[in-house]
Subunit: 338 residues, 2 copies
DNA sequence: CTGTTAGCGCTTTCAG
DNA sequence: CTGAAAGCGCTAACAG
């Protein structure tokens, strides 16, 4: 391997000083057009790329951002998170920035991640995480931080939220408009604010349409407990005719429980999900759901973080990303029997 | 924000020289036990972390590795790839190393990724990729590289392969042992060597059991074309009683086609997949499949790459990771009618 | 407009 | 065993 060229080598080849080369490469105004052209040509011809660390050390920014998920969410097996990551990656690549990925265990939230302490990254995006202490520590360190769908609503700092309430309202309303009065709700743990908000949207819809909220129709537990939750729902004395599952993964587990009970989704029981992950589209019948714009969540996070880092934007927005009802085949119109 | 401390600050606090602090922090032998202890204590108390870029610039390694997928594979929506990434992340985190993620478009394979040219990473792991030119260019640049399930078999350089032939043999054999003689094969594009090898394993099994290979039972197309492929198989004059799908995603699409034809998987038609992604476990009935140890693939890749980078291991292994048959509910025993 | 110089934070000789 | 000094590759301030 030919050792990679440094700015010094280019300077020598171009018969100018190092400083001049730097100016040419960085598009500084104080350099002659001809000199610049000549230098750029030589750099190009020799396949020169500046050393990232030299640059970062001097300029105090790394052109890199850190993306942190909770390890406990097993985010890479959950296409909801993976697709947010996809959006983040795309936007960073577009801006020729680097992405350092870290799946942080909850046990580490007593200290800052190494990439932050070592100053490897210019900012961080936290997805689905947000222990209050941890956030405070980041803020004290004053590293630009962007929260995406955080587990904790109370904090300053810029963040991106999903319009959970409206989405859940739409989902529930959709079922009601198809004649359902006995609509159940299943979700993961309500400690995750997104689920709590979806429950609220569900209740709002029932109330809005003058339907009683029945406690026994509301079940929440693990992230993937949809199977058991649905089974117990079906064993109710007066079982629901429809279920709103506050996340698609749970909805897909509901399919399994429903099928095993000898019933058919979209026929004997209607189902609406939330998130719109591929799993739902693939299911038979395809799942009606509330679409969350996951890639968008990622790319918007990057854009806002960039503003904060490089444009010194001081405003700490809270941005709410809208959702959309996607009608597929898991909802049937019925005539309410009451 | 209190400006982060540098090694200089620690030196001042400890009343020693910078060099001595460095030695203490890096566990060098040529330093007194007491001095070392004292320095470490002071560093600890003040929450000192060395600046990664200063360190990298001087020591010429970044403690970071780059992970590259093909953007065209949409790897983050495919749990097969995502889980390899999960394995890579886990092993890197264990070694306190950093992971830079890059989804490279095929169009970029004419040049080296920026993170490589800029010397941001000590090595790279390429997953599911491997344009020959691109690999050659990496080799010329002599950056340590590890290939995982590459699209190109012919190259030197260390690599990790999946035991596709054995797996496909086992899958097909499993169907044959359950009485099936009319076993079809569906897969994605055969240009991906993994699929070609799985086809080979399928053929080997048929031959081994003295069953004729029927051309019309072998279908391959897009990565997710399982729906159409299965539909056309079912319309054959003499349709198969079983299908071996060379990837689970296609198997799940097959479910959809089979259901729509009014047939039942595991009853009217048996199905075995390959990869073992969550989708298959969730399907009803649960999919019998060949498990690929995806996290393992990732962690082994990191371990071998680390050996090459830091231990100067010169040997370029080709490692073949075994697979395993996972029996679930999509295969039924039948009495062959021939 | 160009060159010189200092220094970002760190490790590593080399004297002492 | 410790300290002084050089230098990794780069940018920026300042002369000229």
């Amino acid at each position: 391997m030919k050792e990679p060229l440094t700015i010094k080598d280019i300077a020598k080849l171009a018969n100018v000083s190092q400083g001049t080369v730097s100016k040419a490469l960085n598009n500084r105004p104080d350099i002659g057009a001809k000199t610049k052209k000549m230098i750029l040509k030589i750099a190009e011809e020799n396949g020169y790329s500046p050393n990232a660390f030299g640059k970062a050390l001097r300029s105090q920014n790394s052109n890199t951002i850190g993306v942190i998920f909770r390890k406990e969410d097993i985010p890479l097996r959950n296409s909801f998170f993976s697709r947010i990551l996809e959006g983040i990656e795309g936007e960073l690549a577009f801006n020729r920035m680097n992405l350092v990925l870290y799946l942080m265990p909850d046990s580490e939230s007593k200290q800052l991640p190494e990439m932050v302490r070592e100053k490897r990254v210019d900012g961080v995006i936290l997805v689905g995480t947000g222990n209050a202490d941890f956030l405070k520590r980041l803020q004290q360190y004053s590293i630009p931080t962007m929260l995406v769908d955080p587990r904790q609503r109370m904090n300053d700092g810029p963040k991106l939220l999903i319009d959970n309430k409206s989405g859940a309202f739409m989902a529930t309303e959709h079922l009601i408009q198809h004649g359902h009065r006995k609509v159940a709700f299943i979700s993961g743990e309500l400690s995750r604010p997104s689920f709590a908000e979806r429950l609220q949207g569900y209740k709002n819809a029932l109330t809005h349409y003058d339907i009683d909220i029945r406690k026994q129709y509301i079940r929440h537990h693990g992230f993937e407990a949809g199977y058991e939750l649905t089974k117990s729902l079906l064993n109710e004395p007066d079982p629901p005719t429809a279920i709103f599952a506050a996340n698609d993964i749970n909805a897909v587990y509901a399919y399994k429980a429903i099928n095993e009970a000898g019933l058919q989704v979209g026929e004997d029981i209607s189902l609406v999900g939330f998130d719109d992950i591929d799993l739902g589209r693939l299911a038979t019948p395809a799942l009606t759901t509330i679409r969350v714009y996951k890639e968008e969540l990622g790319s918007v996070a990057v854009r806002q973080l960039r503003d904060i880092i490089y444009e010194d934007s001081e405003l700490h927005y809270t941005t709410i990303i809208p959702v959309k009802l996607i009608e597929r085949d898991s909802v049937k119109t019925i005539v309410p029997d009451s």
